[in-house]
């Protein structure tokens, strides 16, 4: 699998992402500068976490207009899988590849802690190593993760199986929402389920000794699907 990670000025989890991808696939992802207009051939394009352009103006808003984004949108439309985590999710919504928006956390504070996620759909190239309904533990670290979309969009997302993950309690029974996201949505897919945006950081949950290995299955699944 050849993965490309796009580096924006202010990205800061690109190495965490690269390590998780390399551990799963055995090959080192290529890091590409946002200012490049040429995008190398890739099986997977990743927009990592961070504060692209300092999150000034609005999270992801300026990054969505980086030269490289035109090529990414084109590839995504032609079916190349794209994964956006945290700031990467924000950029994907700003670039119009995913619907909705990420607003300021309901608490108005940055939040960094482990959360539990319920897997809503495992029939995708990203989540094939999970079971539907499975509860996984991964950390969040964001100030603007409060997902919002209008009712019609939300109903469509749910109806089309495009909600990837929802925040939940450790047992999966109750709602434990760290940021006020509408319908506890933590991650969503595009229509073809080849673009995934999520606020939590599976790349920081790939080693039980560091807190959790529940994110590893996501990368293993991607690597297997794109091998």
């Amino acid at each position: 699998m050849k993965a490309v990670i796009v580096l924006f000025p202010g990205s800061n989890r690109e190495n965490d992402m690269a390590a998780a991808l390399e551990a799963a696939s055995g090959s080192k992802p290529q890091i590409v500068w946002h200012g490049d207009s040429e995008l190398p051939k890739a099986d997977l394009i990743v927009l990592p976490g961070g504060f692209a352009h300092g999150d000034y103006l609005r999270c992801g808003a300026m990054a969505a207009h980086s030269p490289i984004m035109r090529a990414i949108v084109e590839r995504a439309q032609r079916g190349t899988p794209v994964l956006g985590v945290c700031n990467g999710f924000q950029i994907l919504t700003e670039a119009g590849l995913l619907p909705g928006a990420l607003m300021r956390n309901a608490s108005l504070k940055f939040v960094c802690r482990d959360v539990h996620l319920k897997v809503e759909n495992s029939q995708t190239l990203f989540a094939s190593r999970y079971e539907v309904g499975q509860v996984i533990r991964v950390p969040v670290a964001h100030g603007d993760g409060n997902y919002f979309a209008d009712e019609e969009t939300l109903d469509r997302l749910e109806g089309e199986g495009r909600v990837a993950f929802r925040y939940c309690s450790p047992s999966g029974a109750a709602n434990d929402n760290p940021n006020g996201s509408i319908r506890a949505i933590a991650g969503i897919y595009n229509e073809t389920k080849t673009v995934l945006g999520m606020m939590p950081h599976p790349e920081n949950a790939v080693d039980a000794a560091m807190g959790s290995a529940d994110g590893k299955a996501l990368f293993d699944g991607i690597a297997a699907a794109l091998a």
Partner: protein, 735 residues
């Protein structure tokens, strides 16, 4: 005094307004041989401020041990450096941003983090962890809540954006900080041991290059502000607080590290306190050279700035470097890629003088050597603190049962969980955080190796005020113990000395006592001081803070998997108390929080016992004979056991006090050099202790009943204990 009238003559009165004393101005006149220009006066005033010259503390700082075979660079550079093997070095320093954080908490704290990060990456290191030691006024004080909210948001706002995890620290509340909070930030970085960058300028004719943000009028005279007492009008100083831009700093970090990977740089220095003045003077001074600066070339974000303003600005996210000849264009390209300003603003000269030009006119022409070498040095008068009487535990009348006292303590401001704070810090970015905030010490893995570092910041100010020398020894010993508790070999410390007005002999006595105590402990524990910062004049209307010498310690793991936590692991395991218990309640948290008495001599620190007991614990952890370990400090045995229970979500039972000790002295005494360990092999542990002459006794066991039980009392459910522990801070902040 941001912009003194140009027409006003430069004289002793204007010098006094700049914070220069009569004698200091006389020395200035002798050095210059004439009246200085306004710009020259400004340069002298910041270079000779307490903040930059350490004029009150320098004489005493010399007493601190700074050497060890593993020390690569001790105090005197932007940060200290130790060898951690495998061709790598750890680079670290702590620095205060107390005065600005009180005036403007968000920006004050944010720029404090920004400054200490720059100190570390200036040396060529990639920062891997931030720690923060915070002290606020009493919770009931009308400003405290606002300051907590602002400082925490500011630290998070800066560190989170930089992508450097904030992995721990400490937070304390006390009335002595009502008018002067303490914000001490520490950064640890990793660099190749043979690629450390220093500030010493070299190469006559080499270009002096300015990179980073543009210069504005912010922070002019920040160093001078940080060298004066507060009064009721201090909040009028808000304009002297700088404004941080972590995004630009992130770009600056990446650009500097990219340039450092080439061999273009001769030397580099960040523009921190006193900005362009102190960076250019320090580089030239260390190199024994002259430096000529053309202010017209400095990137500015405001028009009409004078040489005086540019030289004194403390605008953030700026660096000064000396490049090798011919490398300018390659360097310029890197900074252009990261969209940062890059400007050649001068040259090194052989004149030994700092020459500053603006619009073709010479605005300052100062001999560098005397500016540095003749900086004032004071042997200030000091009085030793009066010894306090020992408080006998038997004389106390406990107002509540030990179980009630435990719940009250652990739910009070100083013991309550600081989760509300650390969850606002990204403590996981970089993916190397092994031990998260809340334990004895943070543990951070070094990417690409098996190694890890343990980091802890510690101080017990109530001991320092009770007996400065003992308090100084204790601060070092507790930090050392915290590193030992997670299984790391303690290596070196950085210190942040926070005190009141040194011109008052009792305050100076606190400084001298604390430093001497620290020196003894550092020497006894092979724990040299490799960097640090002094913050004086932490007083408002004549009321000083408690003496607060914060110790930031770093320990090393050859294999990160060897780390230990305080969390109880298995019901049935035996709890062994390592170290001797006399039941010392003087100056204890119990005495303060339960009996409302802040008095008594603090627990004495036996450095020989600290060393012996700590070495035993390191052996026990390395042999895997213990499954959990926690150091005993504030609140003694009962608090340690409760914290181990909460961390492991397992109950425990503590045995009754041994004969001769009251239950309170046994459970809440703060005798030093003690650890609580959990083991399934108590005989092995007790045998090893006996062989080393270390006192050790079985004091209880881990249980499966979900409760903490003190002998002879009803069990306290973990749920109740956790509620008490977790509730206070969020409820306080929400109220």
């Amino acid at each position: 005094m941001n912009k003194p009238e140009r027409s006003r003559p430069v004289d002793a009165a204007l010098a006094a307004e700049h914070g220069l004393k009569g004698d200091e101005y006389k020395t200035l006149l002798e050095i210059m041989g004439r009246a200085p220009s306004l710009t020259e006066l400004g340069i002298f005033s910041v270079m000779w401020s307490e903040h930059c010259s350490y004029k009150s503390s320098r004489l005493h700082l010399r007493k601190l041990p700074t050497k060890a075979p593993w020390v690569i660079q001790g105090p005197g550079e932007n940060a200290g450096v130790i060898d951690i093997g495998g061709g790598l070095a750890a680079v670290f320093k702590i620095e205060s941003h107390n005065h600005p954080s009180f005036i403007e908490p968000y920006q004050g704290a944010a720029t404090g983090v920004g400054g200490i990060l720059r100190d570390v990456f200036t040396m060529g290191a990639r920062p891997i962890a931030i720690m923060d030691a915070l002290r606020f006024g009493e919770p009931a004080h009308p400003k405290t809540k606002h300051l907590v909210a602002g400082v925490v948001a500011g630290i998070g706002g800066y560190g989170n954006c930089m992508g450097i995890p904030t992995v721990g620290g400490e937070t304390e509340f006390h009335a002595s900080y009502n008018g002067n909070i303490l914000v001490n930030a520490m950064t640890v970085g990793i660099a190749p041991a043979d690629r450390i960058f220093y500030a010493r300028a070299a190469g006559i004719g080499n270009p002096v290059v300015y990179v980073g943000s543009k210069t504005g009028r912010d922070g002019i005279h920040g160093a001078t502000m940080a060298s004066a007492e507060f009064d009721d009008k201090s909040e009028e100083k808000r304009p002297t607080v700088q404004v941080g831009d972590p995004f630009t700093e992130k770009l600056l970090l990446e650009a500097c590290l990219e340039l450092m990977a080439t061999d273009a740089i001769v030397s580099i220095q960040d523009m921190g306190a006193a900005g362009l003045t102190s960076s250019s003077v320090e580089m030239a001074g260390k190199g024994g050279l002259g430096i000529e600066l053309d202010i017209d070339k400095v990137p500015m974000r405001e028009t009409g700035m004078t040489a005086y303003e540019v030289m004194l600005s403390e605008s953030q996210e700026r660096m000064l470097m000396i490049l090798k000849p011919g490398r300018e264009e390659a360097a310029r390209r890197i900074f252009a890629k990261w969209e940062l300003d890059f400007s050649i603003i001068g040259r090194l000269t052989d004149t030994g003088r700092l020459v500053v030009k603006r619009g073709g006119e010479v605005e300052a022409d100062i001999p560098v050597d005397p500016l540095v070498a003749k900086a004032p040095l004071y042997d200030r008068k000091w009085e030793p603190s009066r010894k306090r009487p020992v408080v006998e535990a038997r004389s106390m009348k406990p107002p509540m049962s030990p179980a009630e006292a435990l719940v009250k303590l652990i739910g009070g401001p100083n013991f309550a969980s600081k989760r509300w704070i650390w969850e606002q810090y990204d403590h996981l970015v970089r993916g190397q955080t092994v031990e998260r905030p809340g334990g004895d010490a943070a543990v951070v893995r070094i990417a690409g190796t098996e190694k890890a570092l343990a980091i802890s910041t510690d101080c017990t100010p109530r001991y320092c005020v009770a007996d400065p020398r003992e308090g100084g020894r204790q601060a070092v010993a507790e930090c050392w113990r915290n590193l030992v508790s997670v299984g790391a070999r303690p290596r070196a410390v950085t210190d942040n000395l926070n005190f009141g007005n040194p011109e008052r002999p009792p305050i100076m006595g606190q400084l001298v006592g604390c430093v001497e105590g620290m020196a003894e402990a550092c020497a006894a524990l092979d724990f040299p001081v490799i960097s640090g910062n002094v913050s004086l004049y932490n007083e408002t209307n004549g009321k000083a803070i408690m003496p607060t010498p914060v110790i930031g310690g770093v320990g090393l793991f050859e294999d990160w998997r060897a780390h230990m936590s305080a969390a109880l692991r298995a019901p049935g395991e035996t709890l062994v108390l390592v170290g001797a218990t006399r039941g010392w309640l003087g100056a204890s948290a119990y005495l303060r929080d339960i009996l409302g008495r802040e008095e008594g001599a603090p627990p004495p620190v036996d450095l020989g016992a600290e060393r012996r007991n700590g070495e035993l614990v390191l052996t026990l952890i390395a042999a895997r004979w213990v499954s959990a370990c926690h150091d005993l400090s504030d609140g003694g045995l009962a608090i340690a056991a409760a914290e181990m229970s909460l961390a492991g979500n397992l109950g425990c039972r503590l045995e009754a006090a041994p004969p001769g000790l009251t239950p309170e002295a046994w459970l809440f005494g703060e005798d030093q050099a003690r650890y609580l360990v959990a083991t399934r092999n108590p005989d092995l542990v007790l045998g090893a202790a006996a062989a080393r002459g270390v006192p050790a006794t079985m004091v209880g066991r881990a249980t499966a009943d979900g409760a903490l039980t003190l002998a002879g009392a009803n069990p306290i459910s973990l749920a109740e204990l956790r509620r008490a522990h977790e509730a206070w801070l969020p409820e306080y902040m929400a109220a």
